[in-house]
Amino acid sequence: MSRGAEIPKIQAPRDLKWIGRSTRRVEDPKYLRGLGRYVADLEFPGMLHAAIVRSPHPHARILGIDAEAARQIPGVVAVVTGAEAAELVDPLPDSGPAPDRHVFRVLALDKVRYVGEGVALVIAESRYIAEDARDYVDVDYEPLDPIVDPIAAGQDTSNLVHDALGSNVAYDRTFTFGDVERHFAEADIVVRDRLHWRRGAAMPLDNGGAVGIYDPATGELTIHANSISMTWFAFALAATLRIPSNKFDVISYASGGSFGARFCNWRVLVTAGLASKLTGRPVKYSEDRLDHITNGDQHASDRYYDVELALTRDGIFRSLKTDVIDDYGAYCHLGVGTHGNAMAQVTGAYRIESTVYRVRAVLTNKTQQGAYRGFGAEVANWAIERLVDKAARQLDIDPAEIRRKNFIQPEQFPYHIPTGNMYDSGDYERVLDHALELFGYDHWRAEQARMRADGRRVGIGLVSCQERSVYSATEFWFWYDDPAVQTTSTPEGVKLTADALGNLTVTLHSTPFWGNSSDTMAAMLVAEEFDVDPATVGIEYHGTKGGLPAAGPGGSRLTVMYAGAIRGAATKIKDKARRIAAQQFEADPEDVEWVDGGFQVRGTPDVRKEFGEIAMAAHLFATELPEGLQSGLEASHVYDHPYTTMPSKDRTDLGVFYPCMGHACHIAMVEVDVETGGVKVLRYAAVHDAGTMVNPRSLEGQIIGGTAQGIATALLEELVYDDQGQLLSSSFTDFLMPTAMEVPELDIGHEETPSPITEYGIKGGGEAGRMMAPGAMSAAIDDALVDYGIHVAELPATPERIVRWIGEAGGGAGSAPR
């Protein structure tokens, strides 16, 4: 579909063979056997190992580095200081506001800006020796005052993270969409909230890793890595490494989870690449847990909100104000993209006429943010749902009903929210009703009353949230009035090959796999086109060198994009095959139709050729091909973003940039132990609408996994910095990911409102769960502690915080129930 074109009426998917079936995943057997091959498993002859010397200081000038003693240790091949690295490679790709004034490098140059930042690189025969030598690298630091509190840092100009920036505020802009002031003036009620969403992290179990292999004979550099491959963007990495882009190949490997942490991840790749360029030998840099927590690209949103919702006395929402300060840590290399994600759905599932959004990106002496499932939109979901719950309580309306009153209605789609983004389709009331029924809302409300009568602090919370998917490139630059480039492509290319027997191989040009079932998705989509079993489809990955444009996973785009690309390639192959078949049938190609894995002449099903027969002809019998056709049966197809429109010059309209809009309702029931602050989830139900489902079981897996992460965001996980800038949660004993005992059993339901703009009506679903659970958990805790008037305004709601809130509400241990 062309950009900005009129949106057709929704078509329910036609009769489908594979899409919609919970088939087993094609990638699983190798992982079940332990033969999956992650990047840490790779061995190459002569391979060396790198370790990073990390800063113990949050903020310090590097006066000098003496690496001589380290270099003398047997087995050490090289030690590279930050200054030496700056001679060898250029700064890392950076789409931040002023990359030349908050320069992002592989190793710190003059100053360290957070605990864990790399200052030198040791390359040795084994990782053990590299770590031995690390202890002998003598760094002379002049400690500076740490910049920790983003609110204070935003005002301070005397102590700066980046002196060249002249401020600790990397970005500050207010976007106004519609007549906010009038809607606020007209409102009967304004509900306000101050919210604090603390820093978490994606924290996949696998760390970042790369093996660089420089070939001095050809000048080519190959990097095997578990980062996103991004043929689309590899040229920038090549430039950093000073390698011609066509002599640079990033080959992707499966990653043991990502959740955003493998997005960009430039430092790991550049570390391995520069080390190999320097030594002429393969070099592996595998982050260990400490590297990944302190120096990876995975720290997530760290936000302070002031939000206001204007509404009428009967609970109709009019306008929303957001003022958010985000503590980005020391660098801002992904720009403020996490706020673009927020603005894609900032007004939630509701008809809200106008909105204003101020974002301040503050730099501090903490690890730079990367990406984490939701990419900042999950925080905005939490913010608006917190406001809605507060409004419901203030107006004494049931939380389900206040949402119902304000939902965008099915006939209003495609619907443009005030920021300009479009929601393609939805039926939110249906999702709500389904969730209420699945949860047994009325029944459990009655049970809750009974439990409360027994003195138990039991609460039920509900949210109805958006899940935007399939981003477009405009969100990289609409921040700036005069962006250097105004890119509009977020492509995904695939190649499809039928061999002489008609067996199919799909070549993917993004990262292979990080738990997201991408092989299964591709195989099922191919299977759907060609009526074969997905298990028979060959899957192959192409490196960036000579690859088709592909933006890779991120923003829940991959399945939608694969569907478009595979559809396109399949159509090309079938068109050619149809012409060959028509020639053999001596029929007009128009009269030849695809039926069950072969071609037949319309109306005469006994005149038929199987696809394999045509493939054989295409490969081996050139003289029998129709005029103008060459041998072979393969096609490439690059699918572009399905629907993008340009932002307005004055940015009062950001255009359509995240149009495939999923939706979900989550309902949680919790019990709070007011004496310890412990929270136990008693019941949890979630209904999702991600458009047409390709593999419902896999989608459910994503939803459940995401919800577990969301519950952990609500209760457990936090990267804690003390007021001196030391990271206190740098191990798995302190960064508390939930075990099976902290995660409840979920009841999952689905609705399927197809997208009108994608193949088969698929929408993205990969970030599901994490975008809803924090709000549902907060609401449930509020409800459990309603007697204390508690409103959760800070996450994670740790046991200690809950006890403190109860105390502050005058409900100390003394008033606790027996």
Partner: protein, 292 residues
């Protein structure tokens, strides 16, 4: 996260172990289950020069009755102790507490004695050893000495153990017939070290408390005996109010250190609740609520 180099000494008998330890003095470090030591070494927070691996000392793997006591050798693994009949029948408090120590794969390696020797103030087993009036045998080349668990713990990761000494055994007196017990703790996650925990044993004479042992875990530099709470209960028939009062006394002088999972005040509050719940449960069991 790779450990620094060390010299490795595999020993097969107690005599051999103490001989090597004696020779190494300050430089020698015992390697038991390794479930505390090896993670520290991987972070290079511990860099021992010599490790004396006692895992091959078969003669110290026992879990047995000995002279009316439950005796555990230095290499008796936590999982095996928890499953062993003598422990289940004699010292149910220990078995209950073991359920809170990490997870089965860690308990398959970790030893009861190693946990006690390690003296992590947040660990469960040191508190249990104190609560049960357990005693330890410390063996060196020069001979053996017995010390009460009560005296063994000096501070965080600090004990009476001298260089060259090996803890060869811990002995638990069996729980008195009809006595109640409870180990209760609050942790952020299943299997984590506690924010606060309490180990309690109670013996009744009729409905009166004849003997009480209350020890707090994770809220001080070492296991803390709540003797004022014990004194309050002695001779009384505890009701909810008295139990709450005992819990109050148990935490009256606490000053636990803060960490990211809990500040001082919070930990005191949690400790109070754990003591109350542990006494309540132990009393219930003593009253026949949960007989072995």
């Amino acid at each position: 996260m790779k450990p620094a180099a060390f010299e490795y000494h595999r020993v097969g008998t107690t005599a051999e172990a103490v001989a090597v330890l004696d020779q190494l003095g300050e430089d020698g470090r015992v390697l038991a289950g390794g479930q505390s030591l090896v993670p520290l070494m991987n972070f290079r927070l511990a860099q021992p020069e010599h490790l004396v691996d006692i895992n091959g000392v078969g003669e110290l793997g026992y879990v047995r009755h000995d002279d009316g006591m439950l005796a555990l050798g230095a290499t008796a693994r936590q999982a095996h102790v928890a499953a062993a009949e003598p422990a289940r029948s004699d010292v149910p408090l220990l078995v209950e507490a073991l359920g809170f120590v990490a997870h089965p794969p860690i308990r398959h390696r970790g030893t009861v004695v190693g946990s006690i020797a390690h003296a992590d103030p947040a660990a469960e087993l040191p508190s249990v050893a104190v609560a049960c009036h357990a005693s330890l045998t410390l063996t060196s080349r020069a001979g053996s000495r017995d010390v009460a668990a009560e005296d063994f713990f000096l501070g965080p990761f600090e004990t009476l153990l001298a260089p060259g000494e090996l803890v060869t055994e811990v002995r638990f007196p069996p729980s008195a017939p009809g006595a109640g017990w409870a180990f209760v703790e609050f942790a952020r996650r299943h299997g984590d070290f506690a924010i606060a925990g309490a180990a309690v044993t109670l013996a009744l004479d009729g409905d009166r408390v004849a003997d009480a042992s209350i020890v707090l875990c994770a809220v001080g530099p070492r296991p803390l005996r709540a003797d004022r709470a014990e004194a309050l209960l002695l001779g009384q028939a505890p009701d909810a109010e008295l139990i709450a009062e005992a819990a109050e006394r148990a935490v009256a002088d606490l000053a636990p250190g803060a960490d990211i999972h809990g500040g001082t005040e919070y930990r005191i509050g949690v400790a109070r609740v754990q003591v109350r719940r542990a006494i309540t449960l132990a009393l219930e069991r003593a009253n026949g609520g949960d007989r072995r």
